[in-house]
């Protein structure tokens, strides 16, 4: 057994991994530290510790910017969007993966092409469409856009999933007298749970942080989602020069997500990894 080679490579690699992890924790810690300084201290030096903890920064951030409303807006938009995506994609993926009809291949291809189209290509046309249908500046409009744009990728993943499910269970249920609908909702869907969890999580994470569309389609202050709200906050803080409050705002935004993530991390990662094998 070549233990020499193993240990050197492993040691270096492990060291890199640990440094990487420590650096991430360090950055998070530094953000909290920065949020408790005064503006003078912040620009005095990177390592300088605050003389007194400036909890007032949090008050400024919370009160001045509408972070609570933006958070709430994001929760609504993302939750409804993700539900919508799954409810619309699952049946479609089921049909595309397990049924035979002559236009199945072209349709599947049409959906897959969508994965490659960057949002930029449809940014302005969708804007005009939303204007025409009166859906501009509304959460409903943004949700519909999010659902439509997430379909290609979600259907792609779910199709892969449904394909791996055994046909015998399906047939057995049908023989037992279950209607085709029942077969799907009561038998096949539950079996595809790992895939559903995967796409739920992938979509939730990407929509939560989505910025470009939310910024373009919602102009009304109180309807901003969190990422747009943070950007506006960033802009205003630049002109106010109150950077420490900006960092307090960043902490307010990051840490609930982190805690949520830590609590669910096992399930989330399981879901993602369970899904990635086809």
């Amino acid at each position: 057994m070549k233990s020499n080679d193993r240990s050197i490579l492993l040691v270096i690699g492990k060291a890199l991994l640990y440094i990487w992890v420590i650096f991430i924790l360090f950055v998070l810690g530094w953000i909290v530290l920065a949020s408790l300084k005064t503006n003078q201290e912040l620009f005095d030096g990177f390592w300088k510790l605050p003389e007194t903890l400036q909890w007032g920064n949090y008050y400024t951030a919370w009160v001045q910017s509408d972070l609570a409303s933006y958070f709430f807006n994001s929760v609504i938009v993302v939750t409804v969007s993700v539900l919508g995506i799954v409810l619309v994609s699952a049946p479609a993926a089921y049909v595309l993966s397990r049924f035979k009809f002559f236009w199945k291949e072209p349709l599947t291809l049409l959906f897959v092409i969508g994965i490659g189209i960057p949002y930029q290509a449809v940014l302005i046309p969708i804007y005009l469409l939303l204007l025409k249908t009166g859906l501009i500046n509304s959460h409903l409009g943004l949700i519909i856009v999010y659902v439509a744009l997430s379909l290609p990728f979600t259907i792609f993943i779910l199709t892969g999933f449904f394909q791996t499910l055994p046909a015998e269970v399906e047939e057995a249920a049908a023989i037992d007298g279950a209607s085709a609908n029942t077969v799907f909702w009561k038998v096949m869907l539950p079996m595809a749970r790992p895939g559903l969890i995967t796409v739920t999580i992938l979509n939730a994470v990407s929509l939560w942080n989505e910025f470009l569309l939310a910024k373009a389609y919602i102009n009304v202050n109180d309807k901003y989602t969190l990422s747009v709200g943070l950007y506006q906050f960033y802009q205003s803080m630049q002109y106010n020069s109150d950077w420490v409050s900006l960092f307090a705002g960043v902490v307010i935004i990051i840490f609930p997500i982190l805690i949520f993530f830590l609590w669910l991390s096992d399930r989330i990662i399981e879901g993602m990894t369970a899904g990635s094998g086809k």
């Binding site: 503006n39 409804v80 539900l83 009166g134 409903l140 869907l189 202050n221 205003s236 002109y239």
Partner: protein
């Protein structure tokens, strides 16, 4: 499992219907005929001093005029592109604001603003003066088009070199008036270990201040605009433009810019200036309020205009007029807007612009904040006005951003010499126009 899904689905449907109902309700609130609504999209962000002042004016107005509601959205600096998008759908706000140059380059150029001439002869409430008389001379007519007024300015920005009076005194220097004096002051500072200029290199239009002012001083107002608009690019080869570039190169070669300036990300340089690590910074008059938080107690804000260059066309008398003001996009409720603006221009309210935001007011009876006193003096006594950047940003925005600024950055970072700079300007300007 399917039951859960069905329940989830029902909740979702309800959720969507509720949301649809809510958003519809919000947009169709024009049911009550009595109430007049003014949709005001402001360029300020929540928490900025201007936002606080304007919100105060809005509240006071609504109190006095109970049948008027002003629905204000604090959009931030990119408000004009949002206005543009809304105008596409026929949904532009009644009132918005930005710099005069940006308003001219977007709304005025496309005939998308309402004339506000009636406002000029209205009387200001509680004062009795005629509206147009309260302004510093010529300020309100600066952006007139075809004799009509569309733009009502309330804030004047100018640019020049900001410095700490105490720092200058400590080192025995006076604010320079001519280019040679300016070089001497810089050399003194450098020899004492203080970087002469701070510069946030990643803001390309801050970098442009140097070349723009040099051309203004050497060739007078309008020269930059003329050169940019010449489709052959030949104008750039005139000696004045080269001289300006050479003077800038001189500053670069003498290492007067603080170390690391090419990569300095805003607001790093201006905060280090505020902390005394650099002597001067060429910037807009907003700088004093922007850096207030970082200055120590013995920091005495002052500013001097860009030095004159002996024997050239430009001089101190030519003031830069960078105006911030209101405009009513096409389709606005002009009567309501004009009534509000007349109210807003009252002295008591405009004082807020001076005291709370630290800027120069357009009203001629309001003094400037102490830090900007010299700027105001230049403006009031000016023999002529030119817009910021000679109007380049408004007239030729794409050329400005894609041809001029990248080249100017190279010049100021020392990546390009003056001769190459004007040559490239000629070539690329020509190419730019050939593609239009």
């Amino acid at each position: 499992m399917s039951k859960k899904i069905k329940i989830l689905g029902i909740f979702m449907l309800i959720g969507i219907l509720l949301l649809a109902a809510c958003s519809n309700e919000a947009s169709s609130s024009g049911g009550k005929d009595e109430k007049v609504t003014i949709n005001y999209w402001s360029m300020w962000n929540t928490g900025e001093p201007q936002q606080v002042v304007l919100q105060g004016i809005i509240d006071a107005y609504e109190k006095e005029n109970k049948n008027v509601k002003i629905d204000v959205q604090w959009m931030g600096r990119q408000v004009m592109s949002d206005v543009r998008n809304a105008a596409l759908g026929g949904d532009a706000p009644d009132l918005t604001e930005q710099s005069g140059a940006e308003v001219a380059g977007t709304l005025l150029k496309n005939n998308l603003a309402e004339p506000l001439d009636t406002l000029l002869s209205m009387k200001i409430p509680n004062e009795g003066t005629v509206f147009k008389e309260v302004f510093i001379d010529d300020v309100v007519s600066f952006y007139e088009q075809e004799g009509k007024t569309f733009f009502i300015p309330y804030e004047i920005i100018s640019s020049g070199f900001h410095y700490n009076k105490n720092l200058f005194e400590e080192n025995g220097v006076e604010p320079p008036k001519t280019w040679d004096e300016f070089l001497a002051v810089s050399e003194t500072m450098k020899s004492k270990g203080i970087a002469p200029f701070a510069q946030d290199g990643n803001i390309d239009f801050y970098n442009a201040y140097y070349y723009y002012w040099l051309v203004e001083r050497i060739m007078g107002p309008g020269a930059l605009l003329e050169a940019a608009g010449d489709k052959t690019g030949e104008t750039w080869l005139q000696p004045g433009y080269l001289e300006a570039a050479q003077k800038l190169q001189e500053l670069v070669d003498k290492d007067y810019f603080a170390a690391g300036y090419e990569g300095s990300q805003y607001p790093a340089a201006q905060t280090s200036w505020a902390k005394g690590d650099a002597a001067m910074i060429l910037n807009g008059s907003w700088l004093s309020s922007e850096t207030k938080q970082y200055t120590s107690d013995d920091f005495a804000y002052s500013a001097f205009p860009f030095p004159e260059i002996d024997g050239s066309k430009g001089n101190y008398d030519q003031a830069e007029l960078y105006l911030i003001g209101w405009v009513a996009p096409k389709g606005a409720n002009v009567d309501a807007v004009q009534d509000f603006l007349a109210f807003a221009m009252q002295k008591g309210y405009q004082e807020g612009i001076v005291t709370d935001t630290g800027n120069i007011s357009t009203r001629k009876d309001l003094e400037a904040p102490e830090a900007l006193a010299s700027f105001r003096e230049t403006i009031v006594n000016a023999s002529s006005y030119h817009p910021e950047y000679d109007g380049l940003q408004a007239e030729y925005p794409e050329w400005w951003k894609t041809v001029f600024l990248p080249l100017d950055d190279k010049l100021i970072f020392g990546q390009m010499k003056a001769e190459e700079f004007v040559q490239e300007l000629k070539v690329q300007t020509e190419k730019y126009w050939s593609k239009q």
